[in-house]
């Protein structure tokens, strides 16, 4: 059913990115904008959810959960308010795509929100934009005002654009909800899942920006068309953020079935540094690292899971042979130590401890037991915390050391 991922595909999410006025309502309408919404108005809410299910759209923020299935978890016939929350708290290292969508196609997000809100029965939606994204926040807020003036919003759906204040953990959906409620961004125990009891105690669906930007196209062109763009278990295209040691870093749209090799060598133009690939992180910092001989994998959720890593946020970070893997792990470990929210003991204590060990290894003060200590404590903490943050940190801790152990040992005196 899927086309060859090597075939160039028609740009969908990026189709307007080349227009300097792509963020305006005029430009959006000229390229078919809001026609998906017009079609959705003629559909029953359950039919919209069903179409999204059949499209095989999976969440593009990191977890890869089937979007239509998530929507179907909202209790049927719920009498009180239901909220739609858009996660625009982009923060996964290596990922830049939601910033592009907010700045270059904000009306696609608004149209997707209108359709999603109709599907789940929501009349009030929040868009949680990371605090540092000031320009995207302004750009998106201006589009919301345009959509109110044009009558798309304010007639059944209101949208509140909310600014965060700097905390990676607020990208975790229940941390985001805590933050939206005016608290520190501590994730919440599940169950209850947000679809049952989320923001302000009401059923809440939290979806990523890019996920929702896909929805108008699914309604417009049909779930079968969307599903056929991808693999057997995941439909569509997605935006890959490619950075690190590549000739052309940037945002590339391709099928979810594109291979990592194609992204590095075709889209991003190949490896810089000494020109020889050493390692690559395929799905944001929390994804396990792959060696140069492991890049013939498709980038869909299941393809990368089978390769022992994850699709995550599709942030691809490329390292050539001159990059020190221990030093890269030190940088990543510093990030997790800084961003641990402090709620769960294993995460709070271990992220700092592992950072200190990686730091002394890189500085030539490592102890010969340090590598095994890192692997041991990383594994012991797995699955013991409230949210996925710690398990995300464990991905790099273990994979960097297991796949490049000799390089670490070379830095440790008497190892």
């Amino acid at each position: 059913m899927s086309q060859s991922a090597a075939e160039p595909i028609e740009p969908i999410l990026t189709r307007n990115f080349g227009r300097p006025d792509s963020h305006t309502l005029t430009a959006y309408r000229e390229t078919g904008g809001y026609t998906g919404w017009a079609k959705a108005l003629a559909l029953e809410p359950a039919a919209i959810t069903d179409a999204v299910k059949r499209s095989n759209l999976r969440g593009l923020g990191g977890a890869g959960f089937p979007t239509g299935t998530k929507w179907s978890f909202v209790p049927k016939g719920h009498a009180g308010p239901i909220y739609l929350v858009i996660n625009a708290d982009e923060g996964e290292p290596g990922t830049v795509k939601d910033r592009y969508l907010l700045e270059r196609d904000p009306h696609a997000l608004i149209e997707g929100m209108l359709i999603a809100a109709r599907a789940i029965g929501s009349r009030l939606a929040f868009v949680y934009v990371r605090g540092e994204y000031v320009a995207p926040w302004r750009r998106f807020s201006a589009a919301v005002r345009e959509a109110y003036d044009a009558g798309y919003l304010g007639r059944g759906l209101d949208v509140v654009v909310h600014r965060g204040a700097g905390a990676y953990i607020c990208g975790e959906e229940t941390g985001l909800i805590s933050s939206l409620e005016g608290r520190k961004g501590w994730p919440k125990l599940k169950p209850p899942f947000p679809a049952i009891k989320g923001a302000f105690g009401a059923p809440t669906i939290v979806n990523n920006v890019e996920t929702i930007c896909q929805v108008p196209h699914i309604v417009n062109r049909g779930p079968e068309w969307f599903a056929a763009l991808g693999t057997q278990t995941q439909g569509g295209t997605r935006l890959y953020s490619v950075s690190g040691r590549v000739r052309r870093s940037g945002v590339y749209e391709a099928s979810v079935g594109v291979t990592l090799r194609q992204l590095i060598y075709e889209h991003a133009g190949g490896v810089t540094g000494n020109g020889r690939l050493k390692a690559v992180v395929p799905g944001g910092a929390s994804a396990a690292i792959l060696r140069a001989d492991e890049i013939d994998v498709t980038m869909d959720v299941d393809g990368l899971r089978n390769a022992g890593t994850m699709a995550g946020s599709a942030g691809v970070i490329v390292m050539d042979e001159t990059v020190s893997i221990p030093d890269a792990l030190r940088v990543v470990a510093r990030f997790y130590a800084h961003e641990s929210c402090g709620q769960c003991t294993p995460c709070r204590e271990t992220t700092g401890w592992i950072y200190r060990m990686t730091e002394r290894i890189v500085e030539g003060r490592g102890r010969k037991e340090d590598l095994d200590t890192i692997l041991d404590v990383a594994r012991r903490g797995t699955g013991t915390t409230i949210c996925a943050f710690y398990d995300g940190a464990v991905g790099p801790y273990i994979s960097y050391i297991e796949k490049f152990r000799a390089e670490f040992e070379a830095l440790i005196p008497h190892a």
């Binding site: 540092e132 905390a167 990059v323 890269a328 929210c341």
Partner: protein, 160 residues
Amino acid sequence: MTPSRPQFTPEQQAEVRRLQGLYPDPQGALLPVLHLAQDVFGYISEEVEEYVAGLFGLAPAHVHEVVTFYTMYFREPKGRHIVSVCHNLSCHLAGAPGILDHLRRRLGIEPGGTTDDGRVTLLAVECLCACEMAPMLQVDDRYEGNLTPETVDRLIDQLQ
């Protein structure tokens, strides 16, 4: 400068009420109101925390807990400009350590510090999600990427 008894103007108070009205529970507006308070008072002192707590009927301890959780709220006077250099992985691979060292020497301060003339506060921060333009930094509201020591110098020269 923070007055000893912080007070929003009537217009700012109306903005607080507008923000509070956007959420099913007014407490949802706490982060936006703290952003406003920082814009108005320069930073979030304990007095500002108490004042904001009063606007929400919250315990000052709750507001303190929120202010200290997030990186963008300053609890001490900051420079007129904030220069935040990303030091996460993609920027690191693209030379962020050299950019940060250049700024240390140029400004004569360590990350976390403010120049004596109060012009610039320098920070080293986690991923700002602009890896395609690494190495990059944020100067106030603006992202600047593909940095070299020369372009960094020009950016600093432009700050008043």
